[in-house]
């Protein structure tokens, strides 16, 4: 047994040493401000100082073009989003943003069943895997941040995607046109319609969870005099028709407005004009052509001031 134990230690010590060296190297690379994977770059959520903030998942990142909003309104817009994420995760990300930036004037929340779904394991390892680019080797401060459990004070190398690791190792930073200065969190899909209208199964929206989420934003925005809005970005119309709980979404907004005496606007941009498959990459995501149509619709309905014309 002694021999076995010694050999295990002898084998694992160099492994630990190697991984620590790699950790230090990656941390030093990140400290230089290099960017490797934009949407997961939590460490990069600083000094943006945007006026208009969009919060959501890919259905926000792929649908909003901040450049168009800048041009039309003279306000600096930005998206903090992350593909496939839900409201709980994005609340944490927003809090991280809020710590390091001036407060925005307007916030748009993604408000659809594909974002308002229940996070099965908010503090699970996988959710934090994507938080790789937070301050690394940060043994002291992460636990002070809202939402973090002690376990996540430190994210080991194994928490990351091997390909991101390779990117760092070989200094494969993201192209400039995907960098924040240019894209500001947006990623418009250039591909055409993928060829089929899949319809997601009905997603249950848990009213209590959504209320808690809205409570958090409503309290925060009221406290800091920030205009809060909710938008339901377009999805393919055939798939939209399958969504059964749209009315419940409007009802939840109404309750929040009543509860906090605020005027949160909920705009639902789905309409039969999104029956046209050439506007989409797939049933959930617009392509470049679709984004142009949607942005026009968005600006027509919303003047960044923020006076809203159409409402549901």
């Amino acid at each position: 047994m002694k021999k076995f134990g010694t050999k295990i230690v002898v084998i694992f010590l160099p492994v630990i040493f190697f991984l620590l060296v790699m950790e230090l190297y990656i941390s030093s690379e990140l400290a230089k401000g290099k960017r490797y994977y934009l949407q997961a770059d939590w460490h990069d959520l600083r000094n943006h100082h945007s006026d208009v903030l969009f919060i959501g998942n890919s259905r926000m990142r792929n649908h909003i073009n901040p450049g168009i909003i800048d041009e039309a309104t003279g306000k600096k817009a930005e998206i903090i989003g992350q593909d496939g994420q839900d409201m709980h995760f994005m609340w944490l990300k927003f809090k991280e943003y809020e710590r390091n930036n001036k407060r925005p004037e307007v916030i748009f929340l993604q408000f659809d069943p594909f974002f308002l779904n229940e996070c099965k394991d908010l503090f699970g390892f996988d959710n934090y895997r994507t938080g790789f680019y937070m301050n690394r080797i940060d043994f002291t401060s992460l636990h002070q941040r809202i939402g973090y459990l002690w376990f996540y004070e430190y994210l080991p190398l194994a928490a990351i995607d091997i390909y991101l690791f390779i990117r760092v190792l070989f200094s494969l930073t993201i192209p400039a046109d995907q960098g924040f200065e240019y894209a500001r969190g947006s990623q418009i899909i250039q591909r055409k319609w993928e060829g089929r209208w899949d319809v997601y199964p009905q997603i249950e929206v848990k009213t209590e969870s959504v209320s808690n989420y809205l409570d958090s934003f409503a309290i925060y925005c009221k406290q800091h005099n920030i205009q809060l809005n909710a938008i339901y970005t377009p999805q393919s119309y055939p798939s939209y028709k399958e969504v059964k709980n749209v009315k419940a979404l409007g009802h939840m907004i109404m309750l929040i407005n009543r509860k906090y005496a605020i005027n949160m606007i909920f705009n639902n941009y789905n309409s039969p004009q999104y029956n046209d498959s050439t506007l989409f990459h797939n049933h959930m995501h617009l392509n470049q052509k679709g984004v142009n149509v949607f942005m026009k619709q968005f600006l027509d309905s919303t003047i960044l001031g923020m006076r809203t014309i159409g409402r549901e």
Partner: protein, 481 residues
């Protein structure tokens, strides 16, 4: 709990330490610990279904005493009770919906519309494995090759031993139970071999299988848009994915058991080095194929009643084997395809041609004829895997048709292999080479004699596996069966 999860990385050392340092005072304590941690291991996935496992264990434990009775009629009654009990559990959780759907389709065909009760339940992990454990135990007592076990804990360990609980190998009572009942001493060589097997199994699962899964899923989900070359690539990638996945699991299971002082049955013996389908089935999922041989093929007559009856029996075995994998027509067809490959060999009497030695035994490289035989067998197996992997029988047929006719709608669309998939192909060649290097003994991973090379290899395997582990821990394919 998954072998490739972080929970298991904590669980295994903890169990190892408790097992050898805290519970080593008596065999009973050690077995009690194994049973407890095995239930924790299973309950990690679902505490609700743990009840089913315990119930199944208790019933077969009791049936064992009934079957051991001197009264033959009584023994037979308990044997049938055990079979009905185990197959009943399997039927309800795994096959009921399939049969009811087929019944509904048949009724619709004759113009009768029915609205049958469909069960909205998930299949408990490992159900096909632990029910087979229970059945083999009772069967062995009936055949007189096993005595009923007095200790319920010992029997519980036999059924629920955590390394083999959810995806095998399917153990035999007369192989595992004596080990459960015998005092175990820590053996350095055995533990070292166990660690090597765990490491190699992890590498196959995490690095090779999970990476290939990215490619395979991408191709099989969008197959109508791919050209023939890509579809063939998808099928080949799945062949290696399922091999890496399942043999990786089995290696981890064998290695973990070795750490506890147990020797489990081998499940894989380099199946892709087989020279014909008969040899393939002696090398692929050995514990299942030998189970079917001993508890199905032989009891229904085997090859004792003439060639025609034997052929029928072979059909039955392959059909049941396919159906065991899943309640779906594509699994049944998969079984039938293998029967079609096997039966001609049986008829001409060459199904036992490659029993003794693996290809290239005592040679550095195989002969040209052997290479061709292996390639032909691999191609056959790969075509059959398409039925195994496809969502439905129709999808599998369509997939193959598109390979033959090369008709893709918008070829190349949606084909975006992430870097992960591309890297997986890089690892296939080393996998084949390492398998070739190890081919004479699957249970003991040969390592280079030079200590520096050996330690470097350990480091490379650990670090690469660790880095790939950062991805989401994906379930093993055979967990669904």
């Amino acid at each position: 709990m998954l072998f490739n999860s972080f929970e298991f990385l904590i669980f295994l050392p903890l169990v190892f330490i408790l097992y050898w340092f805290a519970f080593n005072k008596s065999l009973r304590l050690q077995n009690g610990l194994i049973l407890l941690v095995s239930y924790c291991f299973y309950g990690w996935w679902s505490w609700k279904f743990l009840g089913l496992l315990v119930l199944s264990t208790l019933l077969d434990y009791c049936y064992g005493f009934g079957v051991a009775a001197h009264n033959k009629r009584k023994a037979k009654l308990f044997l049938w009770l055990s079979i009905l009990n185990n197959l009943g559990i399997l039927f309800i959780f795994k096959y009921y919906n399939f049969f009811i759907e087929q019944f509904q389709i048949c009724c619709t065909l004759i113009g009768v519309n029915i609205d049958p009760l469909v069960l909205n339940i998930i299949i408990p992990i490992g159900i096909s494995f632990y029910t087979f454990h229970g059945m083999s135990y009772v069967f062995d007592i009936y055949r007189g090759v096993q005595k009923p076990v007095k200790s319920i804990i010992d029997y519980g360990v036999f059924v629920s031993f955590f390394p083999l609980l959810v995806a095998g190998p399917i153990e035999r009572a007369n192989h595992l139970l004596p080990q459960v009942q015998k005092e175990r001493k820590f053996d350095y060589t055995q533990a070292r071999d166990g660690c090597r097997l765990i490491l190699w199994g992890m590498f196959k699962k995490v690095v090779i299988a999970d990476s290939l899964a990215v490619i395979v899923n991408n191709i099989f989900e969008n197959y109508e848009h791919q050209d023939a070359m890509v579809l063939m690539l998808g099928a080949v990638a799945f062949s290696f994915q399922i091999y890496g996945d399942f043999s990786g699991y089995s290696d981890i299971a064998l290695g973990t058991a070795k750490l506890m002082g147990f020797e489990l049955l081998s499940n894989f013996k380099f199946p892709y080095f087989s020279r014909d389908i008969a040899e393939f089935w002696r090398r692929w999922h050995i514990s299942l194929s030998s189970w079917f041989r001993d508890y199905l093929y032989i009891p229904i007559g085997g090859s004792q009643n003439g060639k025609a009856k034997a052929i029928l029996n072979i059909w039955i075995v392959f059909l049941v084997s396919g159906f065991w994998h899943g309640a779906s027509w594509n699994f049944i067809v998969w079984g039938c395809i293998h029967a079609v490959g096997f039966i001609p060999l049986f008829i001409i009497g060459s199904n036992r041609k490659h029993v003794a030695e693996i290809v290239g035994f005592n040679k550095k490289v195989p002969g040209i004829r052997e290479v061709w035989q292996m390639l032909a067998t691999f191609t056959f197996v790969t075509v059959a895997w398409i039925f195994f992997r496809a969502k439905s029988l129709q999808a599998a047929m369509d997939y193959i048709t598109r390979i033959v006719k090369n008709t893709a709608e918008n070829p190349g669309q949606f084909l975006h292999f992430p870097a992960k998939g591309n890297l997986a192909f890089v690892f296939i060649a080393p996998l084949i080479c390492i398998d070739w290097w190890l081919r004479n003994n699957e249970r003991q991973l040969r390592m280079p004699d030079n200590i520096i090379v050996r330690y470097l290899l350990y480091l490379i395997f650990i670090i690469v596996t660790y880095l790939f582990l950062g991805e989401t821990a994906t379930s093993f394919i055979y967990f669904q069966f």
